[in-house]
Symmetry: C2
Subunit: 226 residues, 2 copies
Amino acid sequence: MKTSSCASCLLKSKAVVNLAEQELTVLGKSCVEAVFEKGDTIFKQDALSSNIIYLQTGLVKLLVKGPQRTQILRLKKAPCYLGIPTTMGDKINHYSAVAIEKTTACFVDINTFKELIRINPDFSYEIIVELCRNELEQFNRCVKLVQNQVFGRLATHLLDLSDNIYQSNQFDLPLNRSEIADLVCSSRETVSRLLSDLAKESIIDINGKHLKIIDKSRLEKISEKG
Amino acid sequence: MKTSSCASCLLKSKAVVNLAEQELTVLGKSCVEAVFEKGDTIFKQDALSSNIIYLQTGLVKLLVKGPQRTQILRLKKAPCYLGIPTTMGDKINHYSAVAIEKTTACFVDINTFKELIRINPDFSYEIIVELCRNELEQFNRCVKLVQNQVFGRLATHLLDLSDNIYQSNQFDLPLNRSEIADLVCSSRETVSRLLSDLAKESIIDINGKHLKIIDKSRLEKISEKG
DNA sequence: ATAAAAGTGTGATATAAATCACATTATTCT
DNA sequence: AGAATAATGTGATTTATATCACACTTTTAT
């Protein structure tokens, strides 16, 4: 870990690009950069948090360990902020963040973050925009969970990986079958079966972790209807 | 509907109390107040929105009509804002808001709202705090949906009505059985059965819409475990 | 290289809760 | 007031999907 020179950072957030030189100095003084390898925990459920986290590069999973099952709430791809609601709120992490690819992240002290909100309206504005986008995304997830059954949810997440995370119709799944189950709120066995079904129908081609989407339009139909 | 004098309003939001006199005048010029009776729609899913809505008094339900079922996303009690993420985002309402009690609301033009964010950091700060609280609440709802089965979710919502909405251990349900089903993501019949079961166990006393919580600690246990 | 551990696929069974069906009770309307 | 309509309760049946059980495969460790 090292204190960063935010002014010279090439991976500024949409909010941070609005900061003046002097404000960047303020930020730099309480901003610490860290690198996480695949599998590393960035922060842990139930731990106290007094930092906002900005993901510069990489991919993480947000997960909740509940009494019944573990849920992967969502995958978050850099660039984005993590932990704003928690750190602005009750300061106790409601979920853990674990890197599923090599990830670089900046830890920003909450007081500095609040100070920047106080002094720079353009900064605040971008934070508000990000919070709003998050809320709509989470909303969609929650609606999908109720409206669709497992087949549809699985299809939705495969499309999300293809369209938003990897921007390619073939990629290596960053999660094993059990984690995919946690992501689509189902069981390992069901996910295994449904992936086989999709392959039998020639909608996808799957070989271990390598996945190729063959018939995207049918997958989209399943995502909507199923 | 009438253009309001925001300066003299006794129901200012936590954000608005930070506004200076001149800023209140700006707000007042593009702020329209309206009264909604029980059952009235405040805004409709799929419609365009260029207003932020501030609920001064009352109670509303937010609902999504999906292909499979209707969901009541949540009840929102005044004072609170509605529609910030939508109006800041793609401007299309992802859900409807319907008054379930007499409700008064202010419609604020999005450009005025953005202007206030730009000129008053304390205003922005309070908006950020409200967005953060919303995100955590929605998060909890989503986790509960997966971790608990219907019995637990029903108990959770009864407690929410008692603790947060009515602040009393007896009240009239603002929703019929079918709407309660939409709220707990279940079916009318199941809700009906489970309410009877709770009554049989002397955990609640229910007579039509009137509900009295008799054994709160057992209800809390069901809410956590069930 | 071999053993141990972790991950995966697939059939059989169990289960929570939806759906169906219909009787009963409220509420609304003329 | 009486008819029509909506809301509710409750049993029977169905269904999606979890869970169990176990074989097979891949990865990791010694």
